[in-house]
Subunit: 215 residues, 2 copies
Amino acid sequence: MTMTGPAFDAHFREKLHALLRWRRDVRHFRPDPLPPGLLDQLLDEAALAPSVGLSEPWRWVVVEDAARRTAIIDNFKTANATALAEQVAAGRGENYVRLKLAGLVEAPVHLAVFAEPDPVQGGGLGRRTMPETLDYSVAMAIHTLWLVARAHGVGLGWVSILAPDAVNRALDVPAAWHFIGYLCLGFPREDAETPELQREGWEQRQPPAGTRLLR
Amino acid sequence: MTMTGPAFDAHFREKLHALLRWRRDVRHFRPDPLPPGLLDQLLDEAALAPSVGLSEPWRWVVVEDAARRTAIIDNFKTANATALAEQVAAGRGENYVRLKLAGLVEAPVHLAVFAEPDPVQGGGLGRRTMPETLDYSVAMAIHTLWLVARAHGVGLGWVSILAPDAVNRALDVPAAWHFIGYLCLGFPREDAETPELQREGWEQRQPPAGTRLLR
């Protein structure tokens, strides 16, 4: 049966463009919690993301236990100290220390995200030569969450300065689950149209056309 | 300076939800080309995606040359034949052959997507312990492209049944570039609210709450 999907007009595309422009990797959160039920609602929307073979390999772990949060923060501190030492050696240390790289202490919601490495669901379709498409599916679900959260005024920050194996142990999840990212969510302290790394002078966006080739 | 970003209202969130619901992995394309300039416009939007350390590691290769397209299609046929043999052995062969897994022949636009594996841009920030975040950044840029394309009525299909190394050779791009995905774009032959894999009886979406744990 041929269906006709919803039409998206220029007005919607403008708002979508604004959403993409104003989505930020948020590092500064207000401490107030999300309204009851909102996190579940956002995760339901994230499950509309594409996934290889319809395998839906994302596994979300909401981290509320204080001791587990502390273990993650300690993991971050260790990984961050090593990264700082390397940046100092590369002459970028002064710049690096100005960057507050994690809202881990402030954010009301901590969310660890994993990929199931060999899901029954999906029958293996589409991932025989490229098993990493499972991880990409989870990254796209995180991105879906990011956009829907921002549309509700909720900010998300992605923490990747962590030793992955220790995350699985700290959260008592199967060792085989592939850690993808650790997310902080909450209401942002402020909005910004440009990335914090750009405002702090770390890096600039490049003209997008420079990333294209014709073959 | 504190700025106030755009407010997104319930009406926009409903339309965004519809976009997520009606985004599809498209396998059946009309042959007519995209309007002039639209692909560049869509790729400009995709560059608003998040990236680790603002490294913007995505590299887009628009494939127009007929011989190169044929090489990709041959690559797909070989990988798909192997996958079919495995599905037959698993008793899912009859189902598998009903799935038309690539709109490679019909789609007016072929787009190969790679990750720069060690970009200068971004100064290495955020990827010391997790270099794979570069690949996730590219996956999120593809997802951004997917949504913006759909908002323009353009369908996208992701082909992952390919031998990655052979893609780099066929397209004469640096061997170090990490192949992420091969995309078909064009106007879809029909709209659908449910994934084709679900309509064809391959797999069903699961209740999203089943993918969550509390710790």
